[in-house]
């Protein structure tokens, strides 16, 4: 494990922790954006160039802004209702530990299940493009349909809000 990996892991985990522990909601959203950036850098350190850049473009650029706008338009970021932790924190801890255990078991076991490969496979942008319009064209079109439905739904919700306020 190289020092670069430890640094990036610290950034990602630190950002995630800050996103749940900070008091100001906007700070939490920006800490989540830092965590996304850390993930993108981890992808880049594994030579997955396309995944890293798209993570930046989509998560930091679009999803981060979306979360921030959602916070701004729906609640006052300074308000604190009750404490920082919810009342059912023990249950949350148990569920999070269970999910972590399952994921950790799957990841640690996968090393022995995959065939031994001498070199890491290089998936260039060209290969990803060819796969997307060749073998995986049906999932691509279904995802496009899903996004269109989401966009139309968002427009309808916004329109009804404007007319419902009369």
């Amino acid at each position: 494990m190289s020092p670069v990996f430890y640094l990036l892991a610290a950034i990602t985990v630190g950002g995630g922790l800050a996103a749940v522990l900070l008091r100001n909601l906007i700070h939490c959203a920006l800490a989540a954006a830092v965590s996304f950036a850390g993930l993108a850098l981890l992808f880049l350190s594994l030579d997955a160039q396309f995944a890293g850049f798209v993570q930046f473009l989509v998560y930091v650029g679009a999803v981060g802004i979306l979360i921030v706008f959602a916070i701004l338009l729906t609640r006052n970021a300074d308000e604190q209702e009750g404490g920082l932790f919810s009342r059912t924190w023990l249950m949350g801890l148990a569920i999070a530990a269970a999910v972590f255990a399952v994921l950790g078991w799957a990841v640690l076991r996968s090393g022995s299940v995959l065939p031994n490969q001498l070199a890491s496979p290089v998936a260039s942008v060209h290969d990803i493009g060819v796969a997307l319009v060749g073998r995986y064209v049906l999932p691509l079109e279904i995802v496009a349909l899903l996004l269109t439905a989401a966009t139309i739904g968002a427009v309808i919700v916004a329109m009804h809000e404007k007319e419902g306020e009369q």
Binding site: I26, Q49, F50, F53, F56, L57, V60, I65, V68, V125
Partner: protein
């Protein structure tokens, strides 16, 4: 001789690196490259501030700065000194950490964008396979810092300016990306040096630049308009308009932080002009084949400065667009037109190389332009105003 002046910076770098031990060479190369790029672009920034003030002034029939040096050439130095010695006023209730970080993150994102641009033959700082994608990823990161600047100032005008700026940047990112994708489709690669090489042939002295094709011309225009919207330049500078919003999202910034925003905006303008030159105007290639003896980096910077001059020209000529006009323009005109441009590019790619290809592509683009202009940009029927009172 022409070959050597063309590669003079590459040879200079190699000569300097030969004095370093073997293990230090990659780091030395990185440091030299970064220092070179930053030095060139910051000097260009200083020159551009002078150029803009003189250019705007002459277009408005006045002189512009002419006191500080011959023709006012030392004005940028005076501006820099003023920005450095001004008191840094931070509002008491402002979010101190975010207020400090916002200009830094903007400058970092914008300087990272400069790393992938091929400035000349064999002269690119980082040769990535997906260079164009990296550029747009960094461009998306600038929006977050604009929001941070507007929010952390705890000022109504800043927040309004930041919201408008983000809405504008997000809306115009789609035509920007789609028109860039047209050039990528024809070149077949996302790597910027390879896109420049794909445009480097000549037919009877005329270059193979993409701007000389119908889809390239439309694409370059769409990219240029979207670029001036992305960098908040006139006529899209509502977020920083002085008569509308005091100064928009950098109202509460004074002294050097304001100068950092200014630098970041201009360097953003440079990097997006560089990308448009790379994608559509042939990068470092010469316009006529017998002019290839002039070094490639001179051609690149000449083209970038011409684009900057066009930006300044447009700023001096056109009035500011209102927010709703701006958004209508993006979603109802530019987006459909860039989709049509993408379709026309695909048609160009698969038709045979003769006059019918030119005629068909030009006809489709002109018809869609006229139709979209007539339907999309119809004046909106504004309903009587409804007032919502605070309870």
């Amino acid at each position: 001789m022409a070959q050597e002046t063309d590669q003079i910076f590459v040879l200079l770098t190699g000569w300097i690196l030969s004095y370093l031990p073997e293990w230090l060479r990659p780091y030395g190369l990185a440091v030299l490259g970064v220092v070179g790029v930053l030095a060139v672009y910051v000097t260009l920034f200083a020159l551009t501030t002078w150029f803009e003030r003189k250019g705007l002034a002459r277009m408005q029939n006045r002189y512009g700065p002419n006191r500080v040096g011959p023709f006012g050439l030392f004005q940028p130095i005076a501006d820099g000194v003023k920005a450095l010695v001004k008191e840094d006023v931070v509002p008491f209730r402002a979010d101190q950490v975010l207020h400090f970080l916002a200009p830094l993150i903007l400058l970092i994102a914008v300087c990272m964008e400069l790393g992938v641009v091929p400035v000349g033959r064999n002269m690119v700082l980082v040769d990535m396979d997906a260079g164009l994608l990296f550029f747009f990823a960094m461009g998306a990161s600038t929006e977050l810092s604009v929001f941070m600047a507007g929010w952390s100032s705890r000022n109504k005008y800043s927040l309004l300016g930041a919201m408008r700026a983000i809405a504008q940047m997000i809306s115009y990112e789609i035509p920007l990306l789609l028109s860039a994708v047209a050039a990528v489709m024809i070149a077949g690669t996302l790597s910027l040096p390879k896109i420049v090489e794909a445009q480097s042939g000549f037919t009877d002295m005329l270059p193979h630049w993409y701007v000389f094709t119908p889809w390239g011309f439309a694409g370059a225009l769409i990219f240029g308009i979207a670029a001036s919207a992305e960098t908040n330049r006139c006529p899209f500078d509502l977020p920083e308009g002085e008569s509308e919003l005091v100064a928009g999202y950098f109202t509460e910034y004074s002294g050097f932080k304001f100068a950092i925003f200014f630098i970041a905006e201009y360097i953003g303008m440079f990097s997006i002009s560089s990308i448009s030159v790379t994608l559509f105007f042939g990068g470092w290639g010469a316009p006529l084949s017998f002019l290839s003896f002039i070094p490639s980096w001179i051609w690149f910077f000449a083209k970038v400065m011409t684009m900057i001059f066009v930006f300044i020209w447009v700023r001096g000529t056109l009035p500011r667009l209102r927010q709703d006009q701006l958004m209508n323009f993006a979603w109802k005109f530019m987006l459909p037109l860039s989709l049509v441009n993408l379709g026309v590019t695909a048609l160009w790619r698969f038709m045979n190389d003769d006059w019918q290809r030119w005629a068909a592509c030009t006809a489709i683009l002109v018809v869609s332009y006229v139709v979209l202009g007539l339907t999309g940009m119809r004046s909106q029927h504004v309903a009587p105003r409804k007032y919502r009172y605070a309870e």
